[in-house]
Point group: C2
Chain length 138, copies 2
DNA sequence: TTTTATGTAACTTATGATGTTTCTTAAATT
DNA sequence: AATTTAAGAAACATCATAAGTTACATAAAA
């Protein structure tokens, strides 16, 4: 299944924006991410809607951070990007009345919800300034 | 992103096989899963390779459990089915030498590995007989 | 020999991030 | 005012993979 690498890419971009301290164009970011500027705008606009970056049109324009890195967590960016599920595992809904299917789905969902809660908690504990200074795992 | 519902489907099938106590054909399972028999064979054959089910050809043939439910865990079935990742999140590898990209990927991967370990542990704790008698969440 | 069933190869479909083209809009430079 | 530079946005193509489908081979029982 194709992976969603937007979180990885956007975190990468945000830390670079912090270090450069100036507006960076979509074309420049596209070169950096080995992609094209439309993909950059499409993804960055989700962060702009949540107030983490600003975009300025025209000469000298481009993208800048709208908040300092220490006020942004991995969770903030993850939430800005994803409406869809964290897991590749899905549940079936073929027989709403079958008690076995219900028990199976409940068992799987129970585990996945616990795991998702853990991911969200951990993401919430990491601010982006920690990524700028060399992250060390727990 | 399209979900992998094979785990859910196969657990459902295994518990039904236990309750029916007789060979069930791929056609019958396909009706049960609202799919077609080739999809059933393709997926069930992964469980057969690991020794969880047996298949018999010809008249009166079909699929039967090769192990009792209490000797099979969610983890066993999960492992039989998936070589691919549990998460929809992927890491980029655009600049192997960029320390920021490394820090970003390390931070994400750190969290995902912890979450995956939790999922595998929980899956390993649940034997399939628990699903036959009405599963209650932790 | 016929019927019933799995085994398997080859191909199509569905989904969503990604990639691409093209045009519009806005702001700074000339 | 005209030109250049940049984001915004619509429309469409690509890719990967579970799922779905078609067709045929193989094996076992009736």
């Amino acid at each position: 299944m194709r992976k969603d690498s937007r979180l990885s890419r956007m975190l990468h971009v945000l830390v670079h924006l912090h270090q450069l301290q100036q507006a960076v164009t979509s074309d420049q970011l596209a070169l950096m991410l080995h992609t094209n500027p439309v993909v950059v705008r499409r993804t960055m606009s989700l962060l702009r809607e949540q107030g983490y970056v600003s975009a300025v049109k025209g000469h000298g324009g481009g993208w800048t951070l709208a908040k300092p890195l220490h006020e942004i967590t991995l969770l903030d960016i993850h939430r800005s990007l994803s409406e869809s599920s964290l897991f590749t595992i899905g549940l079936t809904d073929e027989h709403n009345h079958c008690p076995i299917e219900k028990a199976v789905n409940l068992a799987i969902d129970d585990v996945l919800q616990e795991a998702e809660a853990l991911v969200l908690q951990r993401f919430g504990e990491v601010t982006l300034d920690k990524l700028a200074t060399g992250y060390t795992p727990r």
